[in-house]
């Protein structure tokens, strides 16, 4: 049966970044995590557009932190991955592994 809730490549990357950052996942840290790990320059707008989409799908939840002076009195928006999000990541990883199996030209990282 076709699963319409599949993850896009960037959605997958953002979800993994939020999982890695645990309680410290907000726009700046997610952006920096992606840049440092895969050397891909992304904008804050791309991060929030993706996180918003993931929140609508129920894969992440967000909450506002306390306003801080160094952010001009603005709050951070913290994200955490839901159980549905974790299973979506697992499903995507599983699908990748299945597709890679037997392909000599592609290295398996598991």
């Amino acid at each position: 049966m076709a699963n319409r809730d599949h993850l896009g490549e960037f959605e997958h990357i953002v979800l993994l970044a939020v999982l890695r950052l645990a309680d410290h996942a907000y726009g700046v840290t997610v952006r920096q995590e992606i840049e440092e790990r895969i050397s891909r320059e992304v904008s804050i707008g791309a991060i929030y557009a993706t996180l918003d989409r993931l929140e609508r799908k129920g894969y992440v939840k967000s909450q506002l932190g306390e306003p801080t002076a160094e952010r001009g009195g603005r709050s951070k928006r913290f994200f955490r991955v839901t159980a549905k999000g974790v299973s979506a990541v697992n499903r995507a990883q599983h699908a990748f592994q299945k597709m890679i199996q037997g392909l000599d030209s592609v290295r398996s990282y598991s």
């Binding site: 904008s43 989409r53 160094e70």
Partner: protein
Amino acid sequence: MPQERIGQQPPIAVWLVDQFTPYNQAEAIPGDLLEEFSDIASRQGIASARRWYWRQSVKTIAHLIADGLRVASWLIVSSTVGACLLGWCLFWLTETTVNVVLHRYHVYHHVSAPVFWLVYALLVERLVNPMFMGGMVGLVVKGRELPAAITLSFFIGISSALGLVLMATADTPRGFPSWHGDAMVHLRILRPLLVTTFLSPIMIVIGGVIVRKVRSAQNRMDKISG
């Protein structure tokens, strides 16, 4: 230390990002940009941080427009169609009102009718009415006022430009001086049309910005009052 950086970001970039940010991200996106700006400014200097801020702002706005069009596509399309219908109603209303005033006060005795129409009536039809249309789509598409106003202005801009090309290549209407032979007449008649054709899309966006400003102020007031 980072507090010293507040107000040192490029003000136009800050303003633009504020206009395109949805209300649920109004705290997070500008706050994140300021936090990283402060960090880069203390490590690499203010000039480098400003360049980074501009680059991030342009990319962020592009993503916010694309996301707005994706999330609220049906609302934006229907409000664009609605605004076009409103535009036609306003066009008809302006023409009727101007006609009534012209015939009642015999303005044609004092000025040339074509010049009056092209300069005064067109100013209302092409500048004031589009601002109302931009305001209307802004009212309908809450939180994505600017992407909606830009979509409408793009549509109106292209259709106006096409109309202008068709008009310039068509025969001169009865009662108007011929614009094919005399270059000065051609310029005198087409110049206001040309100017207003390019100004109409800008006025639509200004209408959207006004609605956005009013809503942002209301949101701030609501937040302060708890």
